[in-house]
């Protein structure tokens, strides 16, 4: 396995869905290839960063528009 082939398997590797034989070969490659170890870390970090992303703030004009539309639809008095 070379570095290019390793990169192609990262999705299944980080999801723990790689067949045992491929996982074994990949981990042997990692044991002697520091750049691939770092690449794997940054691939995982990319995934982790997205989990930390908060919701996009609502624009104030949208807040007013939604309140108006919902109150009209609910037919509730103020």
């Amino acid at each position: 396995m070379n570095c290019r082939e390793l990169v192609e398997l990262l999705l299944d590797y980080v999801a723990d869905e790689l067949p045992a034989d491929q996982r074994h070969v990949l981990e042997i490659h990692l044991s002697f290839c520091p750049p691939c170890v770092t690449y794997l870390e940054t691939y995982r970090a990319t995934i982790r960063l997205m989990r930390q992303l908060p919701p996009t703030p609502l624009p104030p004009e949208l807040v007013a528009r939604l309140r108006s539309a919902l109150e009209k639809r609910c037919g509730e008095p103020e």
Partner: protein, 191 residues
């Protein structure tokens, strides 16, 4: 909301509660998929009104989050199609300049300096990430946002977008590689 008194009459949902609970998530998903404020706002209003109409059906139902994702994704895709017609173009989709194979790291890969896992991202980092997502080609962006931002399983994403599981996984992997490459210069440790 409580489930302790089955069949007890419940008051109609108040707009404020509906708004506070669902609007930010709906808007975020639509904005990230569409990369367009005006369309995301239209989608948010459309979806919230649908939620209001159907809320009694889903009161306390575990299927509600799945339904909400489906309605939001469908509304976003519908707006994108309308926009494409308006602009008399195909509306993007997959581009030909994304290599299906052959992505590999260069010989030197730098480590990243990142905030701790549980620490809130600062505004500049959020802006960088949102801009990187917006630059993804649409067909990749949809899968990426649903998988890595919304946290949906690949099978559910395939169902929502009408894609096979291998297609979802392939697009997700390409999108992650593009995101990693875009973000790398901002997070690499200074030697």
């Amino acid at each position: 909301m409580t489930d302790s008194i089955p069949f007890a009459p419940q008051p109609p949902p108040r707009p404020e509660a509906l708004f506070a609970e669902h609007a930010p998530r709906i808007y975020s998903l639509a904005k990230r998929m569409l990369g367009n404020d005006a369309d995301a706002e239209d989608v948010t209003q459309d979806v919230l009104l649908q939620v209001l109409r159907k809320l009694d059906t889903f009161r306390g139902d575990a299927a509600f989050p799945t339904w909400l994702h489906r309605v939001t994704v469908n509304a976003a895709l519908s707006h994108r199609r309308k926009r494409a017609v308006r602009e008399e173009r195909t509306g993007g989709g997959l581009t030909d300049d994304i290599p299906e194979n052959g992505h590999a790291h260069p010989g030197i890969v730098k480590r990243w300096a990142l905030p701790p896992d549980r620490q809130a991202l600062d505004r500049e980092t959020q802006r960088l990430i949102e801009a990187a997502i917006e630059r993804l080609p649409e067909g990749y962006r949809d899968v990426y946002v649903l998988a890595d931002v919304e946290g949906l399983p690949n099978a559910e994403i395939g169902d929502l977008l009408g894609l096979s599981l291998p297609a979802v996984k392939s697009r997700l992997h390409r999108a992650r590689l593009m995101m990693r490459d875009t973000l790398a210069p901002h997070f690499e440790e200074v030697a």
